[in-house]
Symmetry: C2
Amino acid sequence: MAPKIKKKQKKAKKIIVKSKKAYSTAKKTVTKKAKKQNKVKISAKMAGKVTDVKKVKESKPKGLKLVYLFGGKKAEGNGEMKDLLGGKGAGLAEMTNIGIPVPPGFTITTETCNLFYQNRMTPPKELMPQVKKGLAYIEKETGKKFGDVSNPLLLSVRSGSKFSMPGMMDTVLNLGLNDKTLIGLINKTDNERFAYDSYRRFIQMFGNVVLGIDKSEFESILENRKKKQKIKLDTELAVGDLKYIIKKFKAKIKEKTGDEFPQDVNIQLEMARDAVFRSWNNPRAITYRRLNDIPGDLGTAVNIQAMVFGNMGENSATGVGFTRDPSTGQKKFYGEYLTNAQGEDVVAGIRTPKHISSLAKEMPNIYKQLKAITVKLEEHYRDVQDFEFTIQENKLYMLQTRTGKRTTAAAVRIAVDMVKEKLISKKEALLRVKPESLDQLLHPQINPTAVANVIARGLAASPGAASGIAVFSADDAVRFAKAGKKVILVRQETNPDDIHGMNVAEGILTSRGGMTSHAAVVARGMGKCCVAGVENIKVYEVDRKFIAGKHVISEGDIVTLNGSTGEVMLGEVETTEPKLSGGFGTFMSWADEVRKLKVRANADTKKDASLARSFGAEGIGLCRTEHMFFAPDRVPIVQKMILADNELERTEALEQLLPLQKNNFKEIFDAMQGLPVTIRTIDPPLHEFLPDKQEIIKEIEQMRAAGAWEDDIRAKEKILTRIEELEEFNPMMGHRGCRLGITYPEITEMQARAIFSAACETAKNPRKKAPIPEIMIPLVGTVEELKHQKNIIIHVADEVMSHYKTKLKYHIGTMIEIPRGAITADEIAREAEFFSFGTNDLTQMTFGYSRDDAEKFIKVYLDKGILKKDPFISIDTDGVGQLMKIAVDKGRSIRKDIKIGICGEHGGDPDSITFCHQLDIDYVSCSPYRIPVARLAAAHAALGKTEYTQK
Amino acid sequence: MAPKIKKKQKKAKKIIVKSKKAYSTAKKTVTKKAKKQNKVKISAKMAGKVTDVKKVKESKPKGLKLVYLFGGKKAEGNGEMKDLLGGKGAGLAEMTNIGIPVPPGFTITTETCNLFYQNRMTPPKELMPQVKKGLAYIEKETGKKFGDVSNPLLLSVRSGSKFSMPGMMDTVLNLGLNDKTLIGLINKTDNERFAYDSYRRFIQMFGNVVLGIDKSEFESILENRKKKQKIKLDTELAVGDLKYIIKKFKAKIKEKTGDEFPQDVNIQLEMARDAVFRSWNNPRAITYRRLNDIPGDLGTAVNIQAMVFGNMGENSATGVGFTRDPSTGQKKFYGEYLTNAQGEDVVAGIRTPKHISSLAKEMPNIYKQLKAITVKLEEHYRDVQDFEFTIQENKLYMLQTRTGKRTTAAAVRIAVDMVKEKLISKKEALLRVKPESLDQLLHPQINPTAVANVIARGLAASPGAASGIAVFSADDAVRFAKAGKKVILVRQETNPDDIHGMNVAEGILTSRGGMTSHAAVVARGMGKCCVAGVENIKVYEVDRKFIAGKHVISEGDIVTLNGSTGEVMLGEVETTEPKLSGGFGTFMSWADEVRKLKVRANADTKKDASLARSFGAEGIGLCRTEHMFFAPDRVPIVQKMILADNELERTEALEQLLPLQKNNFKEIFDAMQGLPVTIRTIDPPLHEFLPDKQEIIKEIEQMRAAGAWEDDIRAKEKILTRIEELEEFNPMMGHRGCRLGITYPEITEMQARAIFSAACETAKNPRKKAPIPEIMIPLVGTVEELKHQKNIIIHVADEVMSHYKTKLKYHIGTMIEIPRGAITADEIAREAEFFSFGTNDLTQMTFGYSRDDAEKFIKVYLDKGILKKDPFISIDTDGVGQLMKIAVDKGRSIRKDIKIGICGEHGGDPDSITFCHQLDIDYVSCSPYRIPVARLAAAHAALGKTEYTQK
């Protein structure tokens, strides 16, 4: 950037800061009053306040400055003023300031939008004079006149908020046309069809956007005419047709609104402006903001700009481009254009756009100019630019420039390249990539260009994409998978009984449950695509079908899931495999250089452990042993244990499980090569290991009917009785976690024995590194619980180590997942060598939300703004986070070096990781596929990033 | 007390304190070592340490003082030394010191018992020499000799711990008899039968207590002989029979133990002593301690005392008595005695004891002496004494004195009387009555003298007693009650659907659920007797019967419940109605004078509100509005509301409920006469208002089979669908509380309208006091929830008040029952004018215990000592209490004068009330019947009482 410009900018910035402060004071007064009186008038007093502001300003607006000019030599705003001018307005001002040609125009500020809303949908009266001045400026710069019959100025009226909300708000083009200026346009351009088509487009757009008439009303007029004339494309319409259509459009407007289409261009402008303001709060904009964590009180700016036309002949053109390939990140000039066309034609896909390189031949000067401008823009913004341009009769105009959206692969490559190019620092490079987005790199994706028939939408529960035949039970999934089929497991919801089916499925689809439902959590753990909680499908598991609208999908029908968007598609849709570029390793190593948090994995199997290592895990933070109970060959033994009438029978069953679990642990220790492995003792309630009650009842009935042996029936009945005994009203708060280990100490004993036997055998193998088992007791609410379990474990450890004649380092610690555990963390720290926050349960108990049930009202809460974020996705820092802080402080007050981690689902969520960094804990643990995300998020946190919303 | 004695006591006390300290140091060393080496030996070093102790002592034991003498002129201990000497030993010492004749003896300390356990069930070797000295002392005082053939000393060996554990531990009498001393006894007493019978009793008692041979072994020998001789009573056995029996007893001992019955009196003594030590940890003692919150590490003392005999002729007697009537509290000398008898004969009921007044005629001197002694004892202890005495050949011995157990009615009367007598202060009077016990006064009780056939035992869930016919559904209860029958509602468990049945029942019996189950909570609220969680009965609701052991109780059979003990009895058992003595009012007024906590009631109906007022409630702390939905005439409307497809239909149903709820509120406001009434908006999940799923399924099947109209079936199916939609995995953490009011604002609106309409109508009535409604939002976890509901309520309040053209004082506040609510109480206090702790839910969430399910493992936790108390009964001060403290501090940091109360079940629990007092909150709220309990507990707390365990 030229030093002169820099200096100017600096000065401008200072002024802006000052004026902003003054403005903010003024606004507060207004807002307060507004609340009191329920209406706002920019009063004399207010105007007086603003006078003070005026004194410190160089540009001298009368009263409150609501309009900022751009285009020509110098803009009133600049690129830093996104808050006030929106992204588009700030970009246009910045381009003006660095000497890039943009069609002249002005921006009405976002604050004006807010005043509009406060003032019962009326803009402040100071606005019109400023708009008039703006128009005069455009007229001066273009030499045209707004509403003039001989040389009419046409305008575009566009929204533009601080954060890009593509397509969500409204735009009106060709404004300023009426029956009279139309003639002027014809005369001036000597292109009757162009003028009539522009008028047709304008009426249509105005009718829809400003007057709120349904698009289809206009479309059907257009279609009828085309049908009558037996033509297919809009471009084939003759002038006569357009005249006819315009007449019909006007009549439709009269019919629908009772008023004529406004011929007064100033009224057109005012109406369009207010429509843009209103569009800030249209339903899809509200939804988009909610989904993207954009606050609702920012407001939109309105950009009013001279129209330029790329369709004024072969010396005109319009196009879009990127300074680098947004898909791969490759450094090459990338773009498309159409000669003699308007922007919407490029998008509409009627004509195939040409590659930007053709422009070098067709208009070499313009090409050179465009290249130079875009290089300058990239250097100026030090980031890839996504730009729009129009060439009107050999003159190049830049219509927009903004940070180019890119795939994650491209983002990583660009970040690494730009560091090499010395454009940005490593720190900036790291901050350029959203941690969350790395997830994309690790899963297959739906090919963005593929055609898909989306039949339903649910929660994007686990990213990636998968196609396969629909199956409706875990057993069927296994059966078909064995036969070589790719399967999608479709269930109302999943439970631990379905693990074997989920394991072989390509993807999982459920009609119930939220982002933290069993299906979602397990799928993410497995790195498998999952669409959960698709409420508008109905799954009939018994009948092996599901219904989505008018589609009935039966067993064997192929469906495709997009776990990154929540879409369910009919048939097979093309997917792309992820590729990790060479830059990825470099990039991640930079992240590792700066982060303070260690990153561990939640992994229960050898496969997961290896995968986690390959993604950079520095240990296992959560190995759930109950998953070792769910393998089909073990469930019968586990059931035997549960059905045991006494400790002896129970111990016998446990002894059968012992060697199996020991082997699992050995495999995991192997994979982790001496890194710490945190193993949690059994956690879920025992009834999860028993078959479904209704099924057993049915089985007994069938056995009775078939005259089965009384003994066999009695065995089934025993299971039924036990199921009924184990039934709980609120299993989440029932007999599980360490409560099991305390009532059945022999379970803890067996697990400890399996762990230490495995560890000793590994340690004694000279080719292997000695493992460091960390045994973690779940659901501890009182130190006495921990003591009880710890005694058992120490006892077994001593016994096993003396049996193997070896000594091992090991640690015993606890989950902090019960509020009482957090509150009494000082007491607990006397016994615990480490804490691991189980933020799933901690969130459940702290809020009193059952994650299986709460999605229903959480959705309403998010809609009504009662919750800002789903606390099961990001740690609720004000509530749950405070309990965590209490636990950290109390824990360290007793045991200074206590190791503290987190192993809930939040361990892979960037905002939660930021919070963990601030808490100054030791590590986060997450599912293997989230590890790169966590590494980067931890780096961001170390670099001072505080949150991810709104970026 | 004579000043001389006082002085001496003071000195003795000083010495004791010193020696205790030294002892404690010594003991610590021992304990540490014991832990390390797993065995304790009183080592030379230890002995050395104790030598230091010796220096400061006046009484000069060798080494560690393990034995304290009493009887004769002066005891080594005194009444304050219950910790070391146990209650009995301290009492005997104290009696000695104040000049009351007791048979000489000595106490082996409780510490010895602990050393015994630490030292692998062996007493410290220092003990025997001290015991020898003790024996020598008794021999000197009695002129008899232990083991002497001519003039044998017989001993009683009795347990005695700090807290009375009647009948739980062991006693051996007549110790010192053998084949030789028997002859001496015969010669000395000239009573052969007495001597042989004493020997027989001794062998029997020794065989059972010391050698562990089952009682029945001896009983059957005795019975066989009696059968053979065709006699009925033991007293009819001749000397020959006794000789025969003694032979048989000895043979039995040889058979069972392989050893002869020990003839060495010193061995007898050692064995008996160890047996008493061991009995500290027998199962029933352990259970008793758990039930009575007595710590397990106190140990028992052993009292070894010269036997005295009341059965040595007509100039001998034995008896028991109270200084006042323990049943009514009346001030009259109360007691019974038998001449020529032993203590056990009084208890055995073979001969009818005479009233103590006869003694005045039979032995006027002794009577005068006894009267004087007992008056002295009462004055000395300043409390009613329960004493035992024996007259041996015209000489009176006091065997025991202790604080007399009394009924609550007696306790209140005695306390009030003793204040009038200036024996004690009002403060002491208040502290003499356990708050919990007041409950007894307010419910009918089982007549203690009635004969009852107890068929099962469960939890004493709600006090009182009731008889009635067993019925197995709420509807049947109503039907039979209408027919004039008294009914006991028997269910596996109850739910809100059963309210109408519970309402008409005399008592409630459930086979599932704990102290805070629905049945228990509601019954206590209704002041109805309830026995809950009777695990060893099986209830067949459909078959209308329950099975308890070998008894099958069918509909119509009469049963009786004792809700104060948990007993279930067959048939009708006589009950007594409670009477409130005049003293009660005086007593409670003293409590009110000192307490700082206000006491409110949980009351949902006019009846409860009136009752609460009569018990002294100062307002309503919790009016549950959902109970107003459960009336049979309203359930259909409520269901209509739930089944509504849209807001309009829902609002229509709500409008039907409005006038009904309004009337309820008016009645309650009337009853409370201007006192504050806290009304909670709807709390339970909607599915509680819908019928049982299985029933609906059955109904639909039946309708199908019967060919019902398709429309009717479809209506039922709609209900079924809604039930399924509303099903939740963990309803406790689901869609309930303010979550309902937020998703269906029209419910809150209706409720607010009912409240304010009722309040305005009451306020406008010139004969009535204006009510102060306090509207309470349940289950608030974030301030946004409260804001949302508050807005609705304020809006409705304004509207209603302007309609009625009146102004009312009202407050809006919130329950604090979600951990997050407590943690963010500062934020919430910005909106809430009051907090009310919902400690039931707060305990559930803080511990992660579902109170419906947790009883199972809580029982195990209590047994294993992991929990000290059931947190659903007494507030867990370390966990839940800390959250409450956080909430109080944070709440007051924002709103200094915020009113804070508690309305959970804990509001009526004395220990929890003590904690509330310490938290310095404003009031507790509890069910009407608990109000006197709460008033007294609050007074105790204000008087500095900190807990109720172990008293």
